[in-house]
Amino acid sequence: MTADTLLARITDYANRPDPWALYAKLREAGPVVRQADGSYVVGTYHEIAALLHDPRMSVDPRIRGKATHKPPFLRLDDPEHHRLRTLAMRPFGPPHSPGRVDAMRGEIARITEELMEVFQPGRQVDVVDDFAYPLPVTVICRLLGVPREDEPLFREWSDALVASADVRPEEDSTERDRAGDQARIEMGRYLVDLAEQRRGHPSDDMLSAFVNEPDPALRLTAEELAETAVLLLIAGHETTVNLITNGVLTLLRHPEHLDQLRRDPDLLPRAVEELLRYEPPVHMRERIPLADIDVAGTTIPQGASVVLVLASGNRDPKRFQEPDRFDPTRPDNEHLGFGSGIHLCYGAPLARIEAQAALGALLPHLGTARLVQDPPPYRQNAMLRGPRHLPIQL
């Protein structure tokens, strides 16, 4: 098989449980691998890192005619990206709200504890449905100010949106795009309505902060608010579920490291970073060059689709020693789990705290647990890769 079908094979659902061998082929064929359809794939660490910092690499789908509406900041370039991300950051993080995420630790611990009740000896639990999904959903609902009981409603929208954003090179995306667009509009309307209810009656949540911003220069328009809120709600729960589930799966596959963490819970922050390298929740991101760009001897033409396989960069032996080894004590772990550059994951600190709380609470229960199914069934999505279910026997 030739290298110009690598992306199709990587995104083929049959390879979801183990894309790592294909990533190794991608790096061997690279650094920059042209696909038969004219797109490009990059799987080596240093080239990915350079492209993530290259100001000529756009994230805006409108450049390839993939959207007509103005996307959220995740898919906007500077300076507009910077303006909107900074506004979205005001109620969430520094410099305006530096203690906001740290102050949620107690609540996250309480939610975790409640969810832990199903972890009784002798029982079989689905780590995804019983724990790793409800935890971040509950947290992002509290943070944004979205009623938790509306979850069935926005889950449907979220599924459609995440499917439309996936990388599926050999599939006609018309129907997915239409469904995604519809979901985006409905979800945006729903969230703006929620926000409007709080205008003049602020409560301690981000939607309130957005609509009650006193300075007109720092206020989001209704359209910007809709796009931002949709992005935060989806990103807030579609990714962390993978991080937690991948964490449980990895620890159960590596009992020696599970023991190590049980003995030394101080290692947990570094273990989470190693998970972000070894089994990241986001496997790839797309970029579009605004000019012809030379990368390691290949010229990528302006306007081409460039898929950066972050998860492959995380396993690049030119950057990490023994990259296929899970090592919670790994030094110098500059992984690409949250990306890098100006688009580095907005919610990364929240995801870290959630993953640490979740895995920390689970550690005492995993010593005698075993995987019921290995590999577990995976979600369809290649970009946001993670198990759909993870049944374990306690």
């Binding site: 520094p94 922050p269 570094r270 600190p349």
Partner: protein
């Protein structure tokens, strides 16, 4: 416990500020200031911040003991 941040490497991702806001703070939009001597009770947060730094710029350790000779 002491910290030093390699501000040559720092790119202002502010992950440390999120995770240990009493130790690290942004100065303006992007500059980083921090308390070099870690207060009691902040050690765990500081270790989290050091692990999370996207450019691994935070060094946590002990200073040279004045008694050494």
């Amino acid at each position: 416990m002491r910290i030093v941040v390699d501000l040559t490497r720092c790119q202002g991702y502010a992950q440390c500020v999120f995770l240990a806001p009493e130790v690290f703070q942004l100065h303006g939009e992007e500059g980083l200031l921090y308390a070099p001597a870690v207060a009691d009770g902040q050690a765990e947060r500081v270790r989290e911040a050091a692990a999370a730094c996207p450019v691994q710029a935070i060094l946590v350790g002990e200073e040279v003991s004045a008694g050494d000779r």
